[in-house]
Structure formats: structure tokens, C-alpha cells
């Protein structure tokens, strides 16, 4: 950080924000129309695919508008106000008005994000129209309503003109995530997962909220346009650029640390990542859109959006880098040992988000944004492929129970697109967009001397990523054809009933293995009919192909000229930190194996990625063929032993959290409950009981005897006289 003095730190948004065209408001409005339509459909009891088409229509239109926004954009950010949301004033001075508009702030970062959000949403909506078709009726409407609401919230998050709008979207997407994870609400695990997601996110939201408060208190505004143009912030940035962090007030340095907590919650980073794997209980399109491509990148967006704020803090960005790298590594290790392919993808998402944060932390916001961009496409693609498999095999997701899917009839497209997705995730050299975006982060991680170890962690993670990604691919999509349909019928019950199939036999041993092994009872089979994995239909295939194509389209957008088009987009936004130096790459003092990291990383990462693929191939393709029953896994177990078991149990982090937080809190709650009942209420009841008890005691005096009364009266008289005279003489 010491050699940053020469960096030119100015903001593209120095110029006062202009006015954005009014029609950008339609981008969030259209999904809202979708929400209303779907609600109406639900009330009307529509049982067709109408909600899906309405959704795709609305979202498609929004996507078109996002493109229009791209074409119509100039360098200056624009603000458009729908209405005044908050305006509380207690004085004339700066900072004496708490004001927030319900409006939108359009700069290039916004446009970049909105493009892939609306685009992917449209595509995945299309995919879901088929994927969710078994549930047509109320559930279908509910799904698309939440889907639209998600896009609305995401638009508010990304396009919001101030931190409060961001917060609105932030919690809004959390809500939709909750609703969609818990979509199969009869499944306890789904409900629990939704709950967990919301609650964990709330912890992050608290940090975010406090960050917003502090921003307001410190800068006197939460409107981006004013905030980023404020002289105060510019002054800090100048100080920071010269390394004079001691000139920057502690409060300003606290802000990014608080915002970070929010970002870590939403983007599933340590220590708040635990909700994301569980979130895979939701329907796969949801996992693809929300929990892989868009919502989870909100944290990255936040950091990118508030990048100037992060720069004024001495510790914020290194912290982001470290957390990102550690998360990437940890999630990758867990991902290696999982068997549920969706969960593997989930951990992979966590891991890739870690990359993005690391990228932000090592000050390559372009790299991070590029990775967000490419990741959105390839991870959505991967999830949708997994979803197609799940859809076709009655919810089967265990990679030990599926094999050779790509060879089956009608599954070719899925296989190929899956391969493309995997290659992207691995970062297969040159021909995948993931390669280019990941490289930027890795290279920059080695450039920053203060975060040097981060680079190594990320590099190792890249190797692990390659391994677990292709573990899935080799296990599930190639190899001998063999499958066991899933027992989870939620995605299939209506569908199965429609085809006269019934999987609801209530015994777990029901086995549809179509493998050459004579492992099942044919009479059984005859009685219940054969299981037919049904291949994806046109909607799913179309979407897969388009997404696969998009991953290639993204290559030039991110690869050319250090970040390419994405770089330009980031450049023209608040997150353009690298503008001054990224092009040069002339951090003379930093070298990796004697070469400039920016150059050498192209080769190193390629080698690491290929090595990972090779290991996966050896263990899960070749090794599996040689010994039918996974001797490779046995071998691996011998090597890794308990480590593997721990990784399979996710390093027992959930259990640890339960032990550290949930259980003590629960015990505390019970204690509070009893305190409330016995102590607090007990005191109240005692106070209520006291007069009555006193009355009971005094009643003994009312014994009805004349002499007794007379005695009491005389005694009382004497007592009064004595007491009064005593008190008087004492006070006198």
C-alpha cells in the first residue's frame, strides 16, 4: 500500500449527476407489473403457463430497456427520481436533512449489472416455464410472482439512487430468496433453508444498516450522487492516495467495515456463507438465477459501488481480500467432498464469490466485475444443467447414483453445455471467458505485496476448483449409463401423476437402477412400471444453448485490453479504481517467478487448472472404469482419511455455529422466558398479592370481640401518641 502515492485518484463521477431518462424507471416497473399480473392470475386461478409468459414478456422488455440504457448512456451518471421517499429535515445546514429519493442512479456499473440481471432473468424465466410446469396453478403463479419480485428488488438494489434504495433491494432480494427457497413449503428442509437464508442475511443486513447510518452521520447524505461528489470524500481519497490514513477520521474508516458485513452476508462469505448451500433446496432456476448469478453478487456490487468508501479505509480492502480468499479456499475444500451436485455447485459459487471479493480486495474491481459477469453466465448454465438432470431424474442429485447422462437419448445438449460450463468454471485456457476473468484477479493478487498469500490461496483454490468441477462432470455425464431416480418427488409429483407413474410408495429401497448389474427385482419393476428419465424440452435446451453461447460471447467482452468492454463499464463508474494504473501493469517491484505476474499468470493458472482436471479424470473417469465400485474414492479416503470426512461434513461449521451461537441463544431465551414468568411477572404478582395478604393478616384483628377492639383502640392510641411524640422530639 505504500507505493500507491503516485496513483491518480479521481472519480469519473466528479461531475454533478445529470438526469437519466425517465424510462429507466420502467426497468424496475416492468417486473412489478409482472408481480401484479401473477397475483391476479393467482386470484383468478389460472392454471396455464400464462404467468410464465407474462413474466418472460415483462422481463424481456426490461432487458431490452437495459440495452437501450447501455446505448443511450454517456459518461456522466444520471439520476431519475420516481418520488420522494424520505425527507426529514431539522435544520438548514448540511447533514440536517435525512432525505432519500425513491429513484435510480444510472452509471455504467449499474448498466453492466442490469444487463446480465435482466438478461439472465429472462432466460431463466423461460427455462422455469418448463421446469416448473408440473406445478401449474397457484404454485406456478406464486413462483413467478416471487421471481418477478426478485427482479424488481434486484433492480432497486442495483439501480437505486441511494443507500436506502440499495437496502430496499437488498432485503427485497433476501425476501424473494426466502420465498423461493421455501417454495416447496411442505418440505421441512426447504422451509428451514429459507429461514436460515433470511436470518443469516439479516445479520449481514444489520451491518449494512449500521454502515448506512454511519455514512449518513459522517457524510450527511446517502444519495450516491451527492456522496461520491462530496469534497469530503475527495479529500479523504487524496489522503488515502498518499497513504495518510491517519488524516482520515476513524468513522469514515469504519463505514466500509460495516458495509462489508452486509456484503458478506448477501454474497455468502465467511463467516456468513452457511446459508447458501442450504439454499439449494429451492427450485433449480432459483438457484441458478438468485443463488448463483445475480443476488449473491450483490455484495460484490455493493463493494464496487462503494469502492471510494472502501479506499479511504486502511484495512477494509485487505480484509475483503483475505476473507474472499479464505472463503474461496474453504468452500472449494468442502465442494470437493460433497456428493450432491447442486451443493457442489453451491460451494463452487461461494468459492467463486470469494474470488470476486479477493479481486475487489486486491484492487482489481475490473477483474471482480468481469468475474461476476462471466460467472453469471457459466454458473447459471451449470445450475440449469444440474436442474435439467434433477428434473429428468426425479430429483436425483447424488453423483454416485448417476452416470453417463450425456450418452442418453435427448441429453446431448445438456452434456455439451455442461462441459462448456465446467470448462468456464475451471478456467480452461483461452477459449473460456472464466479463464480471462479469473486471471485478472489471480494476477493482481500477486501484484499486491501486502496480500501476497492471498494469491497463493487463490491459486490453490483454482486447482481444487478444477478437480471438483470435473469430478462432477466425469461422474455424472460420462462413463457407463446408469441411474437411480431420486426419491424427492416434490419436483415431480404432479408430473408423475400425470403420466400414470407413481413414485410414492413409501419405502426407501425402491430402486430404478437401469445398470447392467442385476441388482433389482424385476417383478417389482413390473408392478410399478419403468422409470423414464425424461429429457429436457425445447425451452430448457434453448436456454442452455443461449447461455453456453453467451459464455463465449463474454470472452471478448472481458478479455480484450485488460478487461475489455467490462473494463470500460467499470471504468466509467464509482468502482474505477484501477483506471490510473491497470493499463500499465508497471508495479516494478512485484515479480512472480521472475516475471510480471500479469504475464506469467496466464500460464500458471492454465497449468493449475489442467492439473486439476487431470486429477479428476484419473480418479473419477479412468479410476472408476477400472474398478466399478469406486476404488478411487477408497484410495482417496486412504490418503485423505478424516480430512475427507470433515470436508464432507462441511468442516462442521453448521454444527459449530449451532454450538457457539444458536444453542446458547436458545438456552438464553428459555432462561429469559422463565425469568419473565417467575421473576418479572412474579414480582408483579407478588405486588398484587401483597395487599391481599396484608388484608388477610389484618383480618385477624377483626375478630369480633368487643374487648379486643377496645384494647386495639387503646393500644393504637398509645402507640400513636408515643410514635408521634418520638418522631417530633427526634426531628426537633
Amino acid at each position: 500500500m505504500l507505493d500507491t502515492g503516485h496513483m491518480l485518484l479521481t472519480l469519473a463521477s466528479d461531475a454533478p449527476a445529470g438526469a437519466a431518462p425517465w424510462w429507466v424507471m420502467l426497468i424496475p416497473a416492468l417486473p412489478m407489473v409482472g408481480v401484479v399480473l401473477c397475483t391476479l392470475f393467482a386470484i383468478m386461478g389460472v392454471k396455464s403457463k400464462l404467468p410464465a409468459f407474462a413474466t418472460v414478456g415483462c422481463l424481456g422488455l426490461a432487458c431490452v430497456l437495459a440495452f437501450a440504457m447501455l446505448l443511450g448512456s454517456d459518461d456522466a451518471p444520471g439520476v431519475v427520481k420516481a418520488w420522494q421517499w424520505f425527507d426529514i429535515s431539522w435544520g438548514e445546514g448540511h447533514g440536517q436533512t435525512f432525505s432519500a429519493i425513491f429513484g435510480f442512479y444510472i452509471d455504467r456499473l449499474t448498466i453492466l449489472w442490469m444487463l446480465f440481471v435482466t438478461g439472465l432473468a429472462t432466460l431463466i424465466g423461460l427455462y422455469a416455464s418448463e421446469y416448473m410446469s408440473h406445478d401449474q396453478g397457484q404454485g406456478y403463479c406464486r413462483f413467478f410472482m416471487a421471481f418477478n419480485l426478485f427482479v424488481f428488488s434486484m433492480s432497486c438494489l442495483v439501480m437505486g439512487a441511494n443507500m436506502l434504495m440499495l437496502y430496499l433491494g437488498w432485503e427485497g432480494v433476501g425476501l424473494c430468496s426466502y420465498l423461493l427457497i421455501g417454495y416447496f413449503y411442505k418440505k421441512p428442509s426447504a422451509v428451514a433453508a429459507g429461514k436460515k437464508a433470511f436470518i443469516v442475511n439479516r445479520i449481514g443486513d444489520l451491518g449494512l444498516a449500521l454502515g448506512v447510518y454511519l455514512t449518513f452521520v459522517h457524510f450527511g447524505t446517502i444519495e450516491y450522487a451527492e456522496l461520491f461528489a462530496s469534497d469530503q470524500l475527495q479529500g479523504y481519497l487524496t489522503d488515502a492516495a498518499h497513504g495518510h490514513f491517519e488524516h482520515i477520521p476513524a468513522a469514515a474508516q469504519m463505514i466500509p467495515l460495516l458495509l462489508m458485513v452486509g456484503a458478506f452476508g448477501k454474497s455468502a462469505q465467511l463467516p456468513l456463507y452457511v446459508w447458501l448451500p442450504d439454499a439449494m433446496e429451492g427450485p433449480t432456476p432459483v438457484s441458478a438465477l438468485i443463488h448463483a448469478a445475480t443476488m449473491v453478487t450483490a455484495g460484490v456490487y455493493l463493494v464496487a459501488r462503494a469502492y471510494p468508501l472502501f479506499q479511504v479505509s486502511e484495512y477494509a480492502l485487505p480484509a475483503v481480500a483475505w476473507i474472499g480468499a479464505l472463503t474461496a479456499f474453504l468452500a472449494a475444500t468442502i465442494g470437493m467432498a460433497q456428493f450432491d451436485i447442486k451443493r457442489i455447485m453451491a460451494y463452487s459459487t461461494v468459492s467463486q464469490l470469494g474470488y470476486m471479493f479477493a479481486g475487489l480486495g486486491v484492487m482489481t474491481s475490473i477483474g471482480a466485475a468481469a468475474h461476476v459477469f462471466t460467472h453469471a453466465f457459466f454458473k447459471a448454465l451449470l445450475f440449469l444443467c444440474c436442474g435439467a438432470v434433477m428434473h429428468g431424474f426425479a430429483g436425483q442429485l447424488d453423483l454416485r447414483k448417476l452416470s453417463g447422462v450425456a450418452k442418453m437419448k435427448g441429453w446431448g445438449i445438456v452434456g455439451i453445455t455442461m462441459l462448456i460450463g465446467c470448462l468456464n468454471l475451471v478456467g480452461f485456457p483461452v477459449i473460456t471467458s472464466g479463464y480471462w476473468s479469473k486471471d485478472m484477479i489471480l494476477a493482481e493478487a500477486f501484484v499486491r505485496p501486502s496480500t501476497g498469500l492471498v494469491g497463493w490461496l487463490l491459486l490453490i483454490t483454482a486447482g481444487l476448483t478444477a478437480y471438483y468441477t470435473f469430478r462432477v462432470f466425469f461422474r455424472v455425464f460420462v462413463g457407463p449409463v446408469e441411474y437411480h431416480p431420486g426419491e424427492e418427488l416434490h419436483a415431480h409429483d404432479d408430473h408423475a401423476a400425470g403420466h400414470g407413474h407413481s413414485h410414492d410408495h413409501g419405502h426407501a429401497g425402491y430402486d430404478h437402477s437401469h445398470s447392467p448389474e442385476p441388482a433389482h427385482d424385476s417383478a417389482h419393476d413390473e408392478a410399478h412400471g419403468h422409470f423414464h428419465p425424461h429429457a429436457p424440452g425445447w425451452a430448457i435446451n434453448t436456454v442452455l444453448v443461449i447461455l453456453a453461447a453467451l459464455t463465449f460471447v463474454a470472452i471478448p467482452l472481458v478479455a480484450l485490453n485488460h478487461g475489455g468492454w467490462v473494463g470500460e463499464m467499470v471504468h466509467g463508474s464509482t468502482a474505477h479504481y484501477e483506471a490510473a494504473h491497470a493499463g500499465g501493469g508497471s508495479h516494478g517491484s512485484v515479480w512472480l517467478v521472475g516475471l510480471d505476474p500479469h504475464q506469467v499468470m496466464y500460464y500458471i493458472s492454465a497449468v493449475v487448472g489442467l492439473a486439476g482436471i487431470a486429477v479428476a479424470w484419473a480418479l473419477h473417469y479412468r479410476g472408476r472404469r477400472e474398478a466399478a465400485h469406486a476404488p478411487a474414492a477408497e484410495a482417496f479416503k486412504r490418503v485423505a482419511g478424516p480430512l475427507q470426512r470433515w470436508a464432507e461434513h462441511k468442516w462442521y461449521v453448521d454444527e459449530l455455529y449451532d454450538f457457539l451461537f444458536r444453542n446458547p441463544l436458545w438456552v438464553l431465551s428459555q432462561v429469559f422466558r422463565y425469568i419473565d414468568m417467575l421473576l418479572v411477572d412474579g414480582l408483579v404478582n407478588t405486588a398484587g398479592w401483597l395487599p391481599s395478604a396484608l388484608g388477610g393478616r389484618l383480618r385477624r384483628g377483626q375478630h369480633g370481640l368487643l374487648q379486643g377492639y377496645a384494647g386495639s383502640m387503646a393500644g393504637g392510641l398509645a402507640l400513636f401518641v408515643v410514635v408521634v411524640l418520638l418522631l417530633v422530639s427526634r426531628s426537633a
Partner: protein, 114 residues
């Protein structure tokens, strides 16, 4: 009581001082009170209240003499009248009660309590 009286009225009366009267009066009053509390017979109890009245009367007369005005003595006349009226009522009441319970013990009358 003695000291109290003397402190208030340092000037002694001839021979027998106000204090002596007051002590006597106080003793009578106390006797009446103690009798009222300890005796069970309604008539005796009533007589005890008469004793207390007369104690007050004695004090009034002593004070009257001490203050050298007649107010106290006038008061005593009225006290006697009231005492007589009370005595009439008391006797009537006692007769009534005796008819009911064939007893003059005050302990017979303790149904009302609590």
C-alpha cells in the same frame, strides 16, 4: 405526666398542685380504660367508661381552677348530662341484650367478624 404538667405550669397551686389533680385524673382514666378492656360484664364495662368520663371531668375542674375561669366547670356540667344520657341508653341496651342471651358477657356477642 407530672413533669409535663409542671413544665407547662411552673407556678404551683397552694399545697395540692395541678399536677396532683392531673395525675389522679390520668390514673382514673387509665383505670377505667383497663377495666373496660379486662372486664367482660357489660355493666361493669359501661361503668368503666363512666369512670373515664369522670376522669376527664376531674381534669376539667382542676384546669378550671388553675386558669381561674369557669369554662371548665361548665363543661363538667354538660359532661355529666351526657353521661347520664349514656347511662340511660346503656341500661336499656343491657336489658335488651340480657333478654336475648341470658348473659351479660360481652363475649357472647362476637358473631360479626372478619
Amino acid at each position: 405526666m407530672l413533669e409535663l404538667a409542671q413544665s407547662a405550669f411552673p407556678q404551683p397551686m397552694a399545697g395540692v398542685t395541678l399536677a396532683h389533680y392531673l395525675v389522679l385524673s390520668g390514673a382514673m382514666f387509665t383505670l377505667g380504660l383497663v377495666g373496660f378492656i379486662t372486664r367482660r360484664n357489660l355493666i361493669i364495662m359501661f361503668l368503666c367508661t363512666e369512670l373515664m368520663f369522670q376522669a376527664a371531668g376531674l381534669a376539667l375542674i382542676a384546669f378550671s381552677r388553675y386558669h381561674l375561669n369557669l369554662d371548665g366547670q361548665t363543661f363538667v356540667i354538660f359532661v355529666l348530662t351526657v353521661a347520664a344520657a349514656e347511662a340511660a341508653m346503656a341500661l336499656a341496651l343491657v336489658v335488651l341484650l340480657f333478654r336475648r342471651r341470658e348473659s351479660l358477657s360481652s363475649e357472647e356477642w362476637a358473631d360479626l367478624k372478619g
